[in-house]
C-alpha cells in the first residue's frame, strides 16, 4: 500500500535523486538511512502494491519503523504515570496500545506514521516530565527535558505537517505555565525573564534550527536531478546534477526565431503550456486552451516571432535579430502553430481577468496576438537575458498582463493551472515570467552561471511547493472518501494489502472493543470533569485524597483531552483527501485518557465503599475485567494485523464472518 510511496522515497535518498513530496523530509530521510544502514541498495522500483520484494533487503526499513512504533507503549506508560501517579492507570494505557490491532498494523510497515507518532509521544512525554520538574527550575534534568521537548517538536514537524498540532499543544501548555509564573509575585521579573528566555531558546529556536538543518541535509543529500524538478523554479533546478539547467550552456540573449519555454516566477509556478484541446462550451470563447503546467513537456515550447513579419526566421542566411525590451512580439506554440492570444472574455476561474487562448492557423492570427515584452527595471532597447531577466508580457490591444492565477482547472483542463490576462497592473510574481530553455542554432552557446539561490530561498520555495501540493490533494467528484466522523467509531478500515480470497490480506482497523471503550470513556471523562469542576467552584470541602484526584482529572486529563481535540478537530476543516490512519495520533491521546479516567473512576467508586478490603477488591476487580476484555478482543481480532488468508469475511463460511460487526468493514 503506501509502502510503495515512502519506500520509493527512501530509495531516492539512497540514490540521491531529487524528488518532491508534500511532507517534510525527516521521515523519509530516516527511512532512507535505515535502509542504507541495513544494506538496501535502492534498486527496488516500488511500482505497485503487492509486488514481491524478492531478494531486496527491506527488513531494515520495516524493522526501524516497527521499533519506533513499539516505543509508543513505554512512552505512553511513562506519560500517564507522570500525570496520574498511578501505576494501574499507566498499565491500562500500555495494555490498550499493545493490543490495539490498528497500532500494530500501522507500525509494521514502511510508513511515516510510526515515525510521526514516535516524535509526537516523545514531545508529550518530555513536556510532562518537564512540568513535573517545575519545582527545581534550571536544574540539569529540567534543561534536559525542556530541550528534549524541543528536539521532538522539530522531529514531529519534520515528518509531517500534522506535527504542527503537537507544537500547538506544547505551546499552549507553555503559555499556561508562563502565566502561572507571572502571577507568582515571589519571582522577580528577572527570574521570569530567564524562564521566558529558556523556553524561547529550547522550544522555538532549537526546533527551528534543527528543522532547517534537516532541510539542509535534505538538499545536500539530494543533489541529482529526478522526477520532482518541474515543481521548482529555474534557479532551484540549476542546483541539481543532471538537470538540463545544471552548468547550463545556452544562448544568452533572446533572439527572434528562438524556441523557448517560459516559467512563471511565483513559487511553484508552471510552464506556459498549450495543447490540442479547446476550452469547453460556456467558458469564454471556444478556442485552444492555454495553461500553466508543472511538468516538462514538448507542449511547453513556444517560438518567438515578430509581430508584423511572417518570414521564415530559421533561414540561416538571415542575420540574427535580438529581442529588445519594449518590442512587440508574437508567441507561436510550436506543436500546434497557434498564437498566444487574449481577448475580452472572462477567464475560466478568475472571472475578473481575461481569457488567454491559442488562436490562428499556422501562425497567422489577428492583432489580439501581439504582446509587448518588458523586463522589470530595465530601459528600452536593452537585450533580454535567458533565465535572469524577469519578463512581463503586456497584451497590446487590451493592456492586460499575462499571468498565472495559481488555481487548478477542472477536468476539462486536465487539472493544469489557469493562465489569465490580468487587467490590474499589480507587480506580483504571478505575472512575471522567465525564459528557461532557449534553443537557437544560430547563436553560440555560452556557459551560464545562473545565480545560485541562497539557502533561505530554497527553504521558502520548497515550503510553498509543499503547501501547494497539500492543498491540491482534493477528492475527485463522487469519490468515496473517509470522513473524520468515521474514525473514532471505527467505521471503516483501510485495506493494506491483498484483495482476493487467496491473497495474504492485512486490514488496518482498530480493535473495536478498545476503540469503543475509548469513545465511551471520552463521554465519562467529560461527565467526571464537569462534575468535579462544579463541585470545586461551589466551594465544597474535599479530603486531601479527593483533592489530589480532582487535580489529576482536571490538570492531567485536561492536557490529554486538549491533545486529542487538537489532533482531531482540525481534520473536519481540511479540504484534502483524508484517510483513516490520520486519526491514530488522536487515538494515542484518547487511550491515555482512558487509562486516567478509569483509574479515577474506580478510585471514586472504591472511595464510596468505605471498608478498605472491599474497596481494594472493587478497584482490582475493575481493572482485571478491563484488561481481560482487552486481551480477549485482541485474541479475536489479531488476524487483522498479522494477515489472513481465506474467503472474504462477507462470505458467511469465513472464520472472520462472525467478527464482521459492522457492514462497512471489508476484511
Amino acid at each position: 500500500w503506501d509502502e510503495t510511496h515512502f519506500g520509493k522515497m527512501g530509495s531516492y535518498y539512497v540514490n540521491r535523486t531529487f524528488f518532491f513530496d508534500v511532507h517534510p523530509p525527516l521521515g523519509k530521510m530516516l527511512i532512507g538511512l535505515a535502509g542504507y544502514l541495513s544494506g538496501y541498495d535502492g534498486t527496488f522500483p516500488f511500482q505497485k502494491p503487492g509486488d514481491r520484494y524478492e531478494q531486496h533487503n527491506y527488513v531494515g526499513m520495516r524493522g526501524f519503523c516497527a521499533f519506533l512504533g513499539s516505543c509508543l507503549v513505554p512512552f505512553a506508560y511513562l506519560t500517564v504515570l507522570e500525570l496520574s501517579k498511578s501505576l494501574p492507570a499507566a498499565l491500562l494505557t500500555a495494555f490498550i496500545l499493545i493490543f490495539d490491532t490498528g497500532c500494530i498494523t500501522l507500525s509494521q510497515y514502511i510508513l511515516l506514521d510510526p515515525i510521526l507518532m514516535f516524535f509526537l509521544m516523545g514531545a508529550v512525554l518530555s513536556m510532562v516530565k518537564c512540568n513535573s520538574c517545575a519545582n527545581s527550575p534550571f536544574s540539569a534534568s529540567w534543561w534536559f527535558w525542556l530541550s528534549l521537548t524541543g528536539v521532538n517538536l522539530a522531529g514531529a514537524m519534520g515528518v509531517k505537517f500534522v506535527g504542527l498540532f503537537v507544537v500547538l499543544l506544547v505551546g499552549l501548555n507553555t503559555i499556561y505555565d508562563l502565566w502561572d509564573l507571572l502571577g507568582n509575585l515571589s519571582l522577580s521579573l528577572v527570574v521570569f525573564g530567564k524562564h521566558l528566555l529558556a523556553r524561547v531558546l529550547c522550544l522555538i529556536l532549537l526546533p527551528l534550527a534543527l528543522y532547517t538543518a534537516m532541510f539542509a541535509v535534505h538538499f545536500t543529500v539530494l543533489n541529482k536531478s529526478g522526477p520532482g524538478d518541474g515543481f521548482f523554479s529555474s534557479a532551484f533546478q540549476a542546483r541539481l546534477i543532471g538537470n538540463n539547467l545544471h552548468n547550463v550552456s545556452i544562448p544568452e540573449h533572446l533572439a527572434y526565431g528562438s524556441v523557448v519555454t517560459m516559467k512563471n516566477l511565483q513559487m511553484a509556478g508552471g510552464y506556459l503550456h498549450s495543447h490540442w484541446h479547446l476550452y469547453p462550451e460556456g467558458v469564454g470563447a471556444r478556442q485552444q486552451q492555454v495553461t500553466a503546467y508543472l511538468h516538462k513537456d514538448l507542449n511547453n515550447l513556444w517560438i518567438i516571432k515578430k509581430h508584423d513579419s511572417d518570414t521564415d526566421l530559421s533561414d540561416p542566411s538571415r542575420p540574427v535579430e535580438f529581442v529588445r525590451h519594449g518590442d512587440i512580439i508574437r508567441l507561436e506554440h510550436k506543436e500546434t502553430s497557434r498564437n498566444l492570444h487574449s481577448h475580452q472574455h472572462e477567464a475560466p476561474l478568475t472571472r475578473k481577468h481575461f481569457q488567454v487562448t491559442g488562436y490562428g492557423i499556422n501562425g497567422t492570427g489577428d492583432s489580439n496576438d501581439f504582446w509587448r515584452i518588458e523586463v522589470v527595471g530595465r530601459k528600452a532597447g536593452k537585450l533580454i537575458k535567458v533565465l535572469r531577466s524577469q519578463v512581463r508580457l503586456t497584451h497590446v490591444a487590451t493592456g492586460c498582463i499575462l499571468g498565472s492565477s495559481g488555481k487548478t482547472l477542472p477536468k476539462w483542463g486536465w487539472e493544469q493551472v489557469e493562465v489569465t490576462c490580468t487587467p490590474y497592473l499589480k507587480e506580483t510574481p504571478n505575472s512575471l515570467w522567465n525564459f528557461e530553455d532557449h534553443i537557437n542554432p544560430k547563436l553560440p552557446n555560452i556557459s551560464l552561471d545562473v545565480l545560485k539561490p541562497s539557502f533561505a530561498e530554497i527553504l521558502l520555495e520548497s515550503h510553498m511547493v509543499m503547501i501547494r501540493g497539500n492543498s491540491g490533494l482534493k477528492p475527485k467528484d463522487n469519490e468515496v472518501t473517509s470522513k473524520p466522523w468515521h474514525w473514532p467509531i471505527n467505521y471503516q478500515g483501510l485495506r493494506f494489502s491483498g484483495v482476493n480470497e487467496t491473497d495474504y490480506r492485512v486490514y488496518l482497523l482498530g480493535n473495536p472493543v478498545i476503540w469503543w471503550l475509548n469513545l465511551v470513556t471520552m463521554g465519562l471523562y467529560l461527565l467526571v470533569a464537569v462534575s468535579t469542576a462544579v463541585t470545586l467552584k461551589r466551594g465544597v470541602q474535599l479530603t486531601s485524597e479527593l483533592k489530589e484526584l480532582s487535580r489529576v482529572v482536571l490538570r492531567g486529563g485536561g492536557q490529554i483531552m486538549l491533545g486529542w481535540l487538537l489532533h482531531y478537530l482540525p481534520f473536519f476543516m481540511m479540504g484534502r483527501v483524508l484517510y483513516f490512519h490520520h486519526y491514530f495520533p488522536a487515538m494515542l491521546f484518547s487511550s491515555m485518557l482512558t487509562g486516567i479516567t478509569w483509574d479515577t473512576l474506580l478510585k471514586f467508586c472504591a472511595g464510596f465503599l468505605s471498608p478498605s478490603t472491599t474497596a481494594r477488591k472493587v478497584y482490582g476487580g475493575g481493572f482485571l475485567a478491563l484488561v481481560l476484555l482487552i486481551l480477549y478482543s485482541f485474541y479475536l481480532f489479531h488476524p487483522l494485523s498479522y494477515g489472513m488468508i481465506g474467503p472474504m469475511a462477507s462470505d458467511p463460511s469465513s472464520p472472520m464472518a462472525g467478527l464482521r460487526w459492522m457492514d462497512s468493514w471489508e476484511f
Partner: protein
Amino acid sequence: MLGFLKNPVVVTVEINMNLVALTVMGLISRLWGLSYPRAVVFDEVYYGQFVSLYMKRIFFVDDSGPPFGHMLLALGGYLGGFDGNFLWNRIGAEYSMNVPVWSLRLLPALAGALCVPLAYQILVELQFSHCAALGAALLILLENSLITQSRFMLLESILIFFILLAVLSYLKFYNSQRHSSFSGSWWFWLLLTGVACSCAVGVKYMGLFTYMLLLAIAGLHFWHMIGDQNFSNVSLVCHFLARGLALVIIPMAVYLSFFYVHLTLLYRSGPHDQIMTSAFQASLEGGLARITQGQPLEVAYGSQITLRNVLGKPVQCWLHSHMNTYPIRYENGRGSSHQQQVTCYPFKDVNNWWIVKDPGMQQLVVSNPPRPVKHGHIVQLVHGITTRYLNTHDVAAPLSPHSQEVSCYIDYNISMPAQNLWRVEIVNRQSDTDVWKTILSEVRFVHVNTSAVLKASGFIGASLPEWGYRQLEVVGEKLSKGYHQSTVWNVEEHRYGKSQEQKEREVELHSPTQMDISKNLSFMAKFTELQWKILTLKNEDTEHKYSSSALDWITMDTNIAYWLHPTSGAQIHLLGNVVTWGSANVAALVYTCLSLWYLIRRRRKIYDIPEDAWQLWVSAGGICVGGWAVNYLPFFLMEKTLFLYHYLPALTFQILLIPIVLQHLGNHLCRSLLLKSMFSALIVAWFSSVYLVYCTFSPLTYGEPSLSVTELKDLRWKDSWNILIRKQ
C-alpha cells in the same frame, strides 16, 4: 380592583429624544428615495426569484440559507400586492409596473434604520456614556456600506438587525438579573434573546456565530453564578433550566416553525423538485404527485415499475434500456459484450419501465392475490418494451473499466451465459421481512453470481458517447464501499401488470398509471430532508466577478458594483466609509494591545485602572471584539465564494468598539485638562472627516446624482476599486 377611584390613573411617559432623533435620522437615511433605481439591483435578481415563487406558492430549495429571510422579503411583496409575475434574469433590468418595488425594499430598509437606535442602546446597556452611545449610533448612521446594503432587497441588514437585537436583549437581561431575577422584564429579555438569535440564524447561517458567542457569554456568566455562595443549589438549577429553555429549546422550536411555515406556504411542485426524493416530490401538488397518486403500495411479482437513482446528481435519472447494443469495440480499443445497452436516462420515457419477475415462473402479470416482494428475495428484471433481462457479467463497463458492464441479455449462443438473478436489499428496512414499497423503500440490487451492485456512475462526465445517446452510464460495482447513494434505487411509478401478450403490454406501458392510495410524509421527515439538502447541496463555486477574499475586507481593497444607470454615469456601489473602516481597525488594534498590557500588569498585581472600569472594558470588549472575531475569522476557513457584504456584521461590531475605546482613552489616559480638551478637539475633527467622506461617497451609495467621468475618477481612491467609467 377599583383603586383608580381613590388614586387617579397616571401615565408617565419618558421619551429619550436622542433615541427618537436617531431613529428618525436612520429612517431618513435608509428610506429616502427607496424605489430608485426602478431596476433589478445586484442580488435582488437572486432573492427576487424566491419572492416570486413564494407568491406563486411553488416549492424551491435554496442552498444559501434557511427560509426565514426569504419569507420576510416575500412578506414585503405580499403586503405590496405583488403577484410574482416578473422574470428575474438580469441585473439592471427595468421593473415592470406590477412589481411593488417600494414595499419589497421596505423591510430590509426598516431593519437597517433600526440598527442605529439599537447601537445606541447597546452602548448604554454596556454602561458607557450617552455621548459615546451617540457616537456609535452616528457612525452606524454614516456608514455608506450599511446604507447601500439595507436599501435593497437583500438579507444582510435584516441579519444585522437581529444580531444587534439579540445582543441588546441579552445585555438588558443581564442587567436586570442583578436586582430582579425571574421578574416579568427578566423573562421578556431572556426570551427575546432566544427568539432574536433564532431569527438571525433563520435569515442566514452566519447568525449562528453570534448565537454561539452569546451562548458562550451566558455560560461564562452562569459559571460565575456557580461560584457565588449566595445562590442556593435549587435556585441555581432553576436559573440553569430557565436559560436552557430560553436559549436552546425555544430557538430550536422557532427555527422549526420557520420551516413549518415555509413548507405550508409552498405546496406546489416547481423547478427544484428533482433534488428531493420521490417521497417528498409526491407530497407536493402537481408534478410527481399527479402521476403517483393512487399507485399500489407494495411491489409484487409482475409489477411494472420505473426505478429512480436516489443520488439525483448531477441529474436525476431512471434505469433505462433501448434496442441499441454496446459497440463491439470502444474508441480506446477495449471490447464489449455487444449486448443491449442499459443506461440511466434523465427523462421520463416508456423505455424506463421494468417488470419484476419471479425467476421460478414464466408469467409477467400479477397473480391474484398479489405476491409482494420482500427484502432478500431474488428477482429478475425484465425490460418492458424489449422483454430482455437485466444482466451483468465480468466484462469491463464502457467508461469505468473497474466495474462490470450491465446489459440486457441477448443470447448470441456463445460462451457467455445469462446471469440475470438479482437479490433485492431494502436499505431503509425496519426488519428483515419488510416488503418492497413504492417510493418509500430504498433498494439495492445485488447480483447473485458476482455480488456486484447495480450503480449509476453519477459523476460529471459519466455520459456515454454518441453510441449511447449521451445517456448516463450504469455499471455493476464490484467493490461496493459501504453505503453510497449511487447504488440505491427507488420505485417511482408503479402498477400491477395485467396484460399477458407483449403487444397488449406495450399499450399498457404507454398508458398512464391510475389507482388510488395517497401517501403523506410527516412534517419532521420533510424538515429533515429539506434541511439536509440545504446543507449538502453544493453549487459549483466558480468565481464571481466581484468576489473577494476575506483578507481584502479589513482594508476594503474591494468593492461591488451594484447597479449602473443604462445611459448616464449614475451608479451604486457597495463601498464603505473609508475613515470609519480605518478607525475601526485602529480601535480593534488599540483595544487588543491595551488589554494585553493591563492583563499582564494585573497579573503582577499592578492596577492601572479602577476595578469597575476594568470590568466595563472587559465586557464591552468581549461583545465587540468577540462579535467581530466570530463573524469574521470563520470566513478564512470557508471555501465558498465570498463577497464584501459578508463582512458587514463583523464591521458593525467593530464600529461599536470605536466610541468604547475613545471614551476609555479620554477617561483614563488623558489625565491633564489640557490633554482632555485636545482629545475632544481631535474627536470633533475626526468626526467631521467621517461626515465629509460620507458626503463624498453618497452619490455612489444612493445612485444620485450622476457623476461625470472626472468626478468618478477622483472617487477611485484605491486602484483596486472597480468604479465603472463609460468609454466616451
